[in-house]
């Protein structure tokens, strides 16, 4: 009595991937990419503005950073909200001082609850990226298609209206997708997604709703992953950002333009004891010859225009 025939059958065992979203492709065999003005590394800084509801559902799982104690978990609710009240202004000040143009991802609830933050972003002419509705509403196959459409429409319509921008970038909360998410966002005018952490460069995705690009939004040069999930120090986070930049910059001399993605959560890096390490790392990054601070759409435009 073993596992049965199906366990030793491999219906997708053939050349390429085991799904239809994108083609198998090796980074080092692709045409080299040229960035504008001879830039070598596109520095894609993403600031994540999140709302964690106090009644965050436990199913299908809790996004990292979510509620922990029995209801009401005021300690985690307020610690996350610290980012939107205080930390974000500290982070924006660092970016302003370094002349960095970030992309700012919003849960649509943040835009509704805190219009001041949208004013800060739009006033600086920074790009808004959609990050779903809030950190309690995840995309997964347990949702009906109608329910998922409602989440996506809520996110995109609120953010497009509040920002006056086309909002072409999508990041699913906690990088959790259903089998339909890519198709549904493509149908609604999204041009790139940041959920797939499998490349250093943009690459095309095919969906029944139209074409998309995957953008290399970092998961491990993300302050939440490194300092919250991995419990490493702010100095260790800064080291990794700097080490990645050194490697990518060196590579760019032989392999063409590269992307350095750094993801910042104001509830993490905006804390008083952490902000200096972030500022130091970003200053080091921007000190490289050919470091080009650019938004997600700018990087993708340049990628598509590259000969």
């Amino acid at each position: 009595m073993g596992l049965g025939e199906s366990y030793l059958s491999y219906p997708h065992r053939r050349y390429g991937m085991d799904h239809k979203w994108y083609e198998w492709s090796e980074l080092h065999k692709r045409p080299q990419v040229s960035w504008p003005n001879g830039a070598r590394v596109a520095v894609w800084v993403t600031v994540a503005l999140e709302f964690f509801p106090l009644d965050q559902p436990a199913a299908p799982f809790k996004a990292p950073g979510g509620m922990v104690t029995p209801y009401p978990d005021l300690r985690h609710y307020t610690l996350r909200d610290y980012g939107n009240r205080v930390g974000v202004f500290r982070v924006f000040k660092v970016l302003d001082e370094l002349g960095i143009t970030p992309t700012v991802s919003f849960n649509s609830r943040v835009a509704e609850r805190y219009p001041r933050l949208m004013d800060e972003v739009v006033g600086r002419d920074w790009e808004v990226m959609a990050n779903g509705v809030d950190m309690g509403r995840l995309h997964h196959d347990g949702l009906s298609r109608d329910d998922e459409v409602a989440l996506i429409d809520d996110s995109l319509s609120v953010l497009r209206e509040a920002s006056g921008q086309p909002v072409e970038g999508w990041w699913s909360p906690a990088r959790s997708e259903s089998s339909s998410t890519l198709e549904l966002v493509a149908e609604r005018g999204v041009r790139y997604v940041g959920d797939w952490y499998n490349d250093d460069m943009p690459y095309p995705i095919t969906t029944a709703g139209g074409p998309l690009f995957s953008m290399p939004l970092s998961h491990e040069l993300d302050d939440q992953t490194v300092q919250f999930q991995y419990k490493q120090s702010e100095a260790q986070f800064a080291d990794q950002v700097e080490d990645a930049m050194r490697v990518l910059h060196k590579e760019s001399s032989e392999s063409g333009g590269r992307v350095l993605s750094v993801v910042i959560h104001p509830w993490m890096s905006g804390q008083p004891h952490r902000i200096a390490a972030l500022a130091g790392a970003l200053a080091t990054v921007m000190g490289y010859e050919g470091a080009w601070s650019a938004s997600g759409s700018e990087i993708l435009d340049a990628f598509e225009a590259s000969p």
């Binding site: 073993g2 997964h140 490349d199 990645a244 350095l260």
Partner: protein, 307 residues
């Protein structure tokens, strides 16, 4: 199997470190050093196994899947460039379905004269619950697939996702596999008790495995470089008395990221900069040990257990 056999299946006999016959590696080397990259394919929607769930999140687990897919798209190339620079050949723990999905990766290993050994079919197909006929089929599949794509006859085995049955070692020995990587109880090779033939364990190391360090213990890259160098220093010192083995097991999806690759390079530069280090492969260690030390080891173990 009795309860006593379940508590200790007697895969090997106790053999105290002190008092063993002295090992000297080729050319008087005191440490045998090998690097074992795991080149893997994880299925997006694997066939379920009742004992172990493949993905931590509901399928499609885009984050976990894409994080691993990175190794094939980008990480392997970056890791290979570093190993080439220090003339270190890999001993590849291969999910053999990679021969079908991504033959370019296997070809790149063969071009470098790297050893290919088996890590099962996919890293999302577990041996838990297999009957003997099923387990024979995956072993035969591994031999056949690797031979067809590379011309090599596999000599080593690392169980797929480290999943075994109580008959795995006996079957591997029967099929002529020389060594297992699944026993972590020693710093030297050791005989394994099997029903037929001669079969040994070659030290592979969980502690120096990049996935254990980065994803399980969640350490920072510069810390990994320190750990690798400290591990080497002690084994090199011990090797003056009797030859030791150091292995660095790798996963290109972890070690091959820009923020981590220099930590590995630093360790390789350090280790290969020492005299009396035999930079080799799993197969070469196993063959040398079987030719020169297996019989004395068996006698020494018997003597140690006589009292």
């Amino acid at each position: 199997m009795t309860d006593g056999q379940r508590a200790d299946p007697r895969l090997y006999d106790y053999w105290p470190w002190e008092g063993r016959p002295k090992i000297t590696w080729p050319n008087g080397a005191r440490l045998a050093f090998w690097v074992a990259p795991n080149i893997e394919f994880y299925e997006l929607h694997p066939e379920p196994n009742a004992t172990r769930t493949a993905w931590p999140r509901p399928e499609p687990d885009v984050l976990s899947y894409s994080l691993r897919d990175y190794g094939n798209r980008a990480g392997t190339w970056r890791m290979m460039e570093v190993m080439d620079r220090y003339n270190v050949r890999g001993s590849v723990s291969l999910n053999v379905a990679v021969c079908d999905h991504h033959p370019e990766l296997v070809d790149a290993c063969v071009e470098r004269d790297w050893e290919i050994f088996s890590h099962g079919i996919y890293n999302t197909r577990y041996c838990y619950g297999m009957d003997e006929a099923e387990e024979r089929r995956i072993i035969e599949d591994a031999f056949e697939t690797v031979e067809r794509h590379t011309g090599q006859r596999i000599a080593g085995w690392l169980a797929p996702a480290l999943t075994h049955t109580e008959r795995t070692m006996d079957l591997l020995a029967e099929y002529g596999v020389l060594y297992t990587c699944d026993l972590f109880c020693d710093d030297q090779p050791q005989p394994v008790n099997v029903k037929s033939g001669r079969f040994i364990s070659v030290p592979y190391s969980l502690e120096m495995n990049d996935i254990i360090v980065y994803n399980v213990n969640q350490q920072a890259p510069r810390r990994y470089a320190e750990m690798l160098k400290a591990n080497f220093d002690q084994l090199y010192a011990d090797g003056a008395d009797s030859g030791t083995v150091m292995c660095i097991p790798l996963h290109p999806y972890a070690v091959g990221r820009p923020h981590r690759i220099e930590a590995f390079e630093e360790a390789l530069e350090y280790i290969t900069g020492h005299d009396d280090v035999w930079v080799t492969t799993g197969r070469e260690i196993a063959e040398y040990y079987l030719d020169h030390y297996y019989d004395t080891a068996v006698a020494s173990i018997a003597a140690a257990n006589e009292r």
